[in-house]
Symmetry: C2
Subunit: 218 residues, 2 copies
Amino acid sequence: MFTYAEENYIKAIFHLQAQSDKEVSTNAIADVMETKPSSVTDMVQKLAEKKVLAYRKYKGASLTEQGRKVATSVIRKHRLWEVFLVDKLNFHWDEVHDIAEQLEHIQSDELIKRLDKFLGNPDFDPHGDPIPDANGNFKKTEKKLLSKLKKGQRGVCVGVKESSPEFLQFLDKKNISIGTKIKVLGKEFFDGSMVIEVGKNQSFISKKIAESLYVQTN
Amino acid sequence: MFTYAEENYIKAIFHLQAQSDKEVSTNAIADVMETKPSSVTDMVQKLAEKKVLAYRKYKGASLTEQGRKVATSVIRKHRLWEVFLVDKLNFHWDEVHDIAEQLEHIQSDELIKRLDKFLGNPDFDPHGDPIPDANGNFKKTEKKLLSKLKKGQRGVCVGVKESSPEFLQFLDKKNISIGTKIKVLGKEFFDGSMVIEVGKNQSFISKKIAESLYVQTN
DNA sequence: TTTATTTTTTAGCCTAGCCTAAAAATTTAA
DNA sequence: TTAAATTTTTAGGCTAGGCTAAAAAATAAA
Ligand SMILES: [Mn+2]
Ligand SMILES: [Mn+2]
Ligand SMILES: [Mn+2]
Ligand SMILES: [Mn+2]
């Protein structure tokens, strides 16, 4: 139905819209797709003809319901495969993204149905990102950025905002992973840095890090 | 390194050479690839430049050592994924080929290493075809066509020469699968048909079928 | 409210992989 | 050993998905 390139564009636009919700600019898409704006214009015009997005010249693109359906399907596949790689093949969470980028394009509804079952119908991927169901619905959770916590508050790490290998490896060094309990021991107003307790140890965390970690408080 | 199309051509040429060993003709390749001979000429010329095959105008193509390496790697992946689909996701053996055609192109040595281990380092795929090791070596077996058996001889089904869903579903109806014990009760000289014993039942088998089933005698 | 800058689109070109039609080489038949 | 049939290659064209350079529109600055 859709080529790999088309699926990747649709997915990228979905993620961009998740941030701002408005129409997505040509340049923004070119940025995340690592292509030139002129190539993006070509592609969004084709995707508009295919009815997966609405496109207004000089204004931008926004996915139609059909487009959202395609996007969530690809995202569902990506995240299920990541669970497979970590849970079944014992990959580390910083190694799975690139392989999942390939696997997400494999076409077979039956395969995904069975994979989902085989994995125990997981709700979250190894980075704490929610896995949409077959209808494209995400389970809502009340996670917040670690940076929002006040001194003395506790939270459980439930996700990462960015899942680059570099950042994930940094978290490993700090002994932080999904499920880790974190307590804010101190917070520096001036630069937003924090001192946190992880297990029996305490760590210094910059603002940048505190803004890349999702926690759940209860 | 190689595109999907290139990998598919290389794999097809490998399989054609496995039959005859000589140079493979343009038409033969076009046939199995379901493309036109002119497209094949284009592609083999490109693959010759990439050193995966030797090509002599009007004579045909034959894989180099490098080409064989690529082919066996793709075949290894295809068959390992088929094992995964059948053993882990409970697909039936007639459903897995098309999905494996996609999965065989996923690029990650580490993935295949781990998948192989996860599956228990299988030697054969669900159709009885040998899975080459990481160096491209196939385990030799002394299988023969069921049609070679004489009246009274027994054998165990170890493979199918052709694995189209239609044929596999036909075998299901006859209660034949990998590991099934078969005894030749009668053989018709005139048309090569056979009467065989499968479990407690007996079946009539045409020559075409008897020439599509591999058995091992001991 | 002009002018300058930035963003976006258009025009034209490229490669991969396919196609058809025609030419050339090879093989088979007479 | 010529003629006919088949196989293979070449020539030219098409679509997908990129690119650069130039034009046009939108936005920001003066
Ligand atoms: Mn990922
Ligand atoms: Mn993820
Ligand atoms: Mn197969
Ligand atoms: Mn097989």
